[in-house]
């Protein structure tokens, strides 16, 4: 496959959003690819729309960044006019309107998640085309293909926060193991009544699956260490 550095920058991705008893947990991998080259191995695909609503982005990086910027701007105005924090439903619908009305020109599949005082934790899925669908959990991106069966088996209602977080991290690492366009680290964002918590799971903290190799010290690490390890026979 030829290296096309002028290919549109896309987030071949795994994005996940789950509700639990008290809020939502959003998770994503961190790989942004340009054709076959990884343009950014530590990108942040979970973007803030308001204090209490975040969005997971997949598809074209440029399209989803622009949509997030517009929706953040509209929500900011809306919050000022309303006099209280915007609801997750309003945020999701603003995303949906932009996505649907420009469906011919955009390539964006997003998951909007957040918490508000009326409905608690909510997850809204807005895939390519601009449908809006409220779901107890949602997956998206190229890596999601490998997670449908997993979630059918592992999902249950009314999880605790720890259970939800572990589920998201496990699912993301499974998808990253099988999908070439997903990889890097796992980032999660928890949104509940108390506020927002960001977590980071580096490559070495993620579990290894079938046939995945243990990370080994590269020769470079050994070369750059001040005292070289003695040769062993």
């Amino acid at each position: 496959m030829d290296l096309d550095l002028s290919a549109p920058h896309s987030t071949g991705t795994t994005i996940i959003g789950v509700t639990y008893n008290g809020g939502v947990v959003l998770g994503a991998d961190s790989r942004t690819s340009t054709g076959m080259y990884v343009a950014n191995r530590a990108s942040d695909k979970i973007t803030e729309l308001t204090d209490n609503v975040y969005v997971c982005r997949s598809g074209s990086a440029a399209d989803t960044q622009v949509i997030s910027d517009y929706v953040r701007y509209f929500l900011h105005q809306h919050t000022i006019q309303l006099g209280q924090p915007a609801t997750v439903k309003v945020a999701a619908n603003l995303v949906r309107l932009l996505s649907y009305q420009n469906k011919n020109m955009l390539q964006a599949g997003v998951i909007v998640g957040g918490w508000d005082k009326y409905e608690g934790g909510q997850i809204y899925s807005v895939p390519l085309g601009g449908t809006i669908l409220r779901q107890p959990f949602s997956i998206g991106g190229s890596g999601s293909s490998y997670l449908y069966g997993f979630f059918d088996q592992a999902w249950k209602e009314d999880m605790t926060h720890e259970e939800a977080e572990q589920l998201v991290v496990k699912a993301a690492s499974l998808a990253m193991a099988r999908d070439g366009a997903s990889g890097g680290v796992v980032r999660t964002v928890t949104i509940n009544a108390e506020g927002v918590t960001r977590k980071f799971y580096g490559g070495d903290t993620l579990p290894l699956w079938h046939d995945e190799l243990e990370p080994t010290n590269s020769l470079l690490d050994l070369l750059s260490s001040s005292v070289p390890e003695p040769m062993s026979t």
Binding site: D2, L3, D4, L5, S6, P8, H9, T32, T34, Y37, A39, N40, A42, S43, S60, A61, A62, Q65, V66, M105, L220
Partner: protein, 288 residues
């Protein structure tokens, strides 16, 4: 794909797929096009600010159009931008945003911020849907601290501690990935950037010539044009060039012109002398 054999690899070109490629060409399947952006540009964040680097080769297809062009563009006194892609596009978009930033500085009375430049660039590039082929590494230090961002032709941006763009980006990124660490000093940062650009210069056909470096810290920017010149001309004769007389044939008509010149000169000289004579003898009045 090719069946794996047990022969030890000998190196050199493997001709296994040539028959298949020929068959595909005969069927009408075209080879994928090979389009280079012909550049290596890099940036990294060190403890006091950012260091930007670029090579200096501008290509027109297979020809080197400019051996020493400037790819690090001025955006604001505290913000510089390296550009890869179509030279006209990078030049035009950075000039345009630089002017917009200046107008913004006049309106607000404050030093420009990197996010302002970033937003102006990304909204322009997005509205042209990737047809403005400018891939940029934007770096600067403002009141909120040091920033380094990459901007892609379609309008997406990434914030990174170290970044490379252009056809030589893979060679430069390999240097950064092995040697970058947080909290580099200024000297270490410059050295690492120069090394990454050299990796692009020597291993990428679209990059070459010299290394330009730009160091931006709080309150001070240093543009080190031609920081390294690792490709000097090596075939200049130390004695200089000398040509035997009569080696170049020139037209006979030229000789006529020479004689005409002499003629005119003589007249002019006479006139000047006449004037001098008249001035000396007070025959020409002075005018204020």
């Amino acid at each position: 794909m090719v069946k794996m054999t047990d022969l030890p690899t000998k190196g050199g070109f493997s001709f296994d797929l040539c028959t298949r490629n020929q068959m595909l060409l005969d069927k009408g399947v075209q080879m994928p096009p090979f389009r280079k952006t012909g550049t290596t540009i890099v940036g990294l964040v060190f403890q006091d600010g950012v260091v930007l680097g670029a090579d200096t080769r501008a290509t027109e297809g297979p020809i080197v159009a400019d051996k020493n062009c400037e790819k690090i563009h001025f955006m604001a006194p505290n913000i510089y931008c390296c550009g890869a892609g179509t030279a006209a596009d990078t030049e035009a978009v950075t000039d345009m945003v630089s002017s917009q930033l200046q107008l913004h500085r006049y309106a607000t009375g404050r030093e420009s911020r990197v996010v302002t430049a970033l937003t102006l660039l990304k909204s322009h590039l997005f509205s042209y849907q990737g047809h403005v082929s400018a891939a940029l590494v934007l770096g600067g230090v403002d009141v909120t601290g040091p920033h380094l961002q990459t901007v892609y032709p379609h309008g997406s941006t990434d914030t990174l501690p170290f970044a490379t763009m252009g056809s030589g980006s893979l060679a430069a990124m390999s240097v950064f990935e092995s040697k970058y660490r947080e909290g580099l000093t200024r000297e270490e940062g410059i050295e690492l950037v120069a090394e990454a650009i050299c990796a692009g210069i020597f291993n990428d056909l679209g990059s070459g010539s010299n290394v330009d470096v730009c160091v931006i810290t709080k309150g001070q920017t240093e543009y080190l044009r031609n920081y390294q010149l690792p490709n000097p001309r090596t075939y200049i004769s130390s004695k200089g060039y000398s040509f035997v007389k009569g080696q170049t044939v020139f037209l006979e008509q030229l000789l006529l012109l020479v004689s005409k010149l002499v003629h005119v000169e003589a007249i002019f000289q006479l006139r000047v002398d006449e004037w001098q004579y008249r001035i000396n003898w007070g025959l020409v009045p002075c005018l204020c």
